[in-house]
């Protein structure tokens, strides 16, 4: 966050995302770790690096920030961090007694169940949101509607059928 070369900061972001995935592995939620690596490292970081290459010369340094802004925001951030961590430190958590057992089958069945505690409705809402995001990306990226309309619509219909995570990555790809 403090480096002035934007490409380096993208690479550091990649490393920190990998570190978070390693933390998930250590917490024994391998599914989340895999999703993290696929979506973030495989999708978002690649997208960010692409857009960095598209929008500016990678060797250029960003302009220096005014010192007042750096000092004041650093103070605010340190204060907030100290306050939050003090609260965490003083609160004694009571860990659950059972062991944490999850399987992908459990996650899938609860995600699609419509009974109490099921996540079918948020699932549908998220898929609608992804569709809207995809259409929005296409609309933003479309320069001349007459030239590219047919091809993009075909692609869009094809994309809807594919499952959620794939949909995200394809959205990014078609947008790029």
């Amino acid at each position: 966050m403090t480096t002035r070369k934007i490409f380096r900061s993208a690479i550091w972001l990649l490393f920190s995302l990998m570190g978070i995935a390693a933390l998930y592995f250590w917490l024994q939620v391998e599914f989340i770790a895999a999703v993290q690596i696929i979506v973030y490292v495989g999708g978002i970081v690649v997208l960010i690096i692409f857009s960095i290459f598209l929008t500016q010369q990678s060797g250029n340094e960003m302009p220096k920030q005014p010192l007042r802004r750096i000092i004041s925001s650093a103070l605010a951030v340190l204060f907030g961090f100290g306050l939050t961590f003090l609260q965490i430190w003083n609160y004694s958590f009571q860990p659950g007694t059972k062991s944490f057992d999850w399987t992908v089958a459990k996650i899938g069945s609860q995600m699609l169940s419509t009974t109490k505690g099921g996540y079918a409705l948020p699932f549908e809402v998220v898929s609608m949101l992804l569709l809207a995001a995809m259409v929005g990306c296409i609309v933003i990226a479309m320069k001349t509607p007459a030239a590219t309309n047919g091809k993009l619509k075909e692609e869009e219909i094809e994309n809807i059928k594919i499952e959620k995570q794939k949909e995200v990555i394809i959205t990014e790809i078609s947008e790029v």
């Binding site: 929008t55 960003m62 659950g96 995001a133 990306c137």
Partner: protein
């Protein structure tokens, strides 16, 4: 394996959150601000997983929230980068201070 207390992991996620906040405060480049937002979302994800694992091990709700957050973050990043590239095409700059008018 779980002998490391929860507050240590919460320390990591709090630090990540406030590093992201610092980036959001100081940077004026849109792509860097987007990266800061990704850091913040990731720290929230860590919090969800840790609370789910340590406090409510018999439920799975935290994992669902993490999955949904990751999905929404990906969609958000895609749209943000589309907007950024369009803005760069029209303004030749992705600095938030330079984007003054809403319609070109």
């Amino acid at each position: 394996m779980s002998d490391i207390p929860m507050s240590h992991i919460l320390f990591v996620s709090t630090a990540l959150f406030f590093i992201g906040m610092y980036g959001l405060f100081t940077r004026r480049n849109m792509i860097t601000m987007l990266m800061a937002i990704e850091l913040i979302l990731n720290s929230v994800n860590i919090n969800f997983v840790v609370f789910n694992k340590y406090l409510y091990p018999e439920k799975l709700d935290g994992i669902f929230f993490v999955i949904f957050i990751i999905t929404i973050a990906a969609a958000e990043a895609a749209i943000a980068i589309a907007i950024i590239i369009n803005l760069y095409r029209s303004h030749r700059s992705i600095d938030v201070e330079n984007a003054r008018e809403m319609k070109y």
